[in-house]
Symmetry: C2
Subunit: 238 residues, 2 copies
Amino acid sequence: MPEDDKQIPSVWARPRKERQQPLLTRESIVAEAVRLLDEEGADNLSMRRLGSRLGAGATSLYRHVANKDELLELALDAVHGELPLPGTGEWRATMSEVARALRATILRHPWLAAKLGEAGLAYLGPNMLRQSEFMLGVMEDAGFPPAEADMAVTTVTAYVVGVSTGEAAWLSMVARSGQSEQEWTERLWPAAERAVQDFPRLRARYAAQRGGDTSSSNEETFEYGLQRVLDGLQTRLG
Amino acid sequence: MPEDDKQIPSVWARPRKERQQPLLTRESIVAEAVRLLDEEGADNLSMRRLGSRLGAGATSLYRHVANKDELLELALDAVHGELPLPGTGEWRATMSEVARALRATILRHPWLAAKLGEAGLAYLGPNMLRQSEFMLGVMEDAGFPPAEADMAVTTVTAYVVGVSTGEAAWLSMVARSGQSEQEWTERLWPAAERAVQDFPRLRARYAAQRGGDTSSSNEETFEYGLQRVLDGLQTRLG
DNA sequence: GCATGTCGCGCACGCTGTACCCTAAGGTAG
DNA sequence: CTACCTTAGGGTACAGCGTGCGCGACATGC
């Protein structure tokens, strides 16, 4: 009803009406938190910064979220919502696909690895549960008895999280340095070479990788290990 | 030379002589940090608290350590110094032994998992390097070509760190709650059952584990996955 | 004797998470 | 229309954090 607008003598006194629906919701807060984490890293997420990005005060967030830890758990699970669950086909192909998607997600959100280290793999967020359920189904359909399928899923997830954690930590370090990966590697190299000097095999490995492409060699390592893990599981089906 | 002691007119003015050798050293600081982390968890490590445990002020620590992050890296590597390197024998047995020792260390220091998630697996501490070098040697002696041995070591370590991280997070949670594992499990169970209600396979898994011994089933899962990983690597040697 | 360097201390700054209380805006009941 | 209650958001305040800086006390070399 705009009738009473006329009665207002001054624009300045008009009691700007808003608030049809709340401008802060749990979803919008979590989504913005993920964005902030992606852009600025875990160290730079504070309730005040998050609040001001949303045009709100820091303490207003507490209406929708119990505390910062809970917010991070929500962010953790929200990111797991990105994971696509492929249609079921051959079990190895399906598991590989899920594993690659999980790794990609962790690399896209490097802060995720550190938070997973605090929250554990058995966290109860619905998106994470959905993913576990899916993998369990794939393994059971492949012929693993339920109890073993559970352990098999844990094995694959543990491997993926373990490798990706290492890669993500590296990416975070590079990001914090503000330099390109190339620059950062070159700056770090002398220290690394000095550190491995007493270790002949490590020294040889470093020398062999000198100048190589980090990300493609990471990918190769990931794929190698993943296939070995799946090989190992396959021996149980023969 | 205690001669000049007599010349001091008042006890209060006596310039209490100490400090023959520094009471703070990098080693003592790191060792105390590890103790504090073990006893009170990562959240409760602050420079002030650490300082006062050592009978020193917070900022005195900065004489020996550049900043808190560096301190944590040192603590990380110090703990890796606990790891025994078994004498070389059959490669599978040796790798299993190293893997179990690594898991045991992580469970003994649950804060370690989270820090590993931040620092990455390729950190340059001497103790961690020593361990990598050892494992590389085992795999090369087993017949893996150097480049592949490297990837194989990464695979095993990633798996171990991945599983243990999950277990350690659980232990930290229990420790923070101040309750026994039994109590905590029972308190959490209803929420967990509600969460898995929509997921038939997870629900079945939970029901099957009800009342079981957490730590022994964790151990079984760890061992299962470890043997699968080693199986997978073995296929490359045939 | 003095100069120089090392060690530890205290202060101060800007920042954090969050408990507590206040205000303003609907929605509902009388 | 009024009176009340709920609910979203804001402001203030507190205890604690990491750490830069400058100080005095001491050990050592000339």
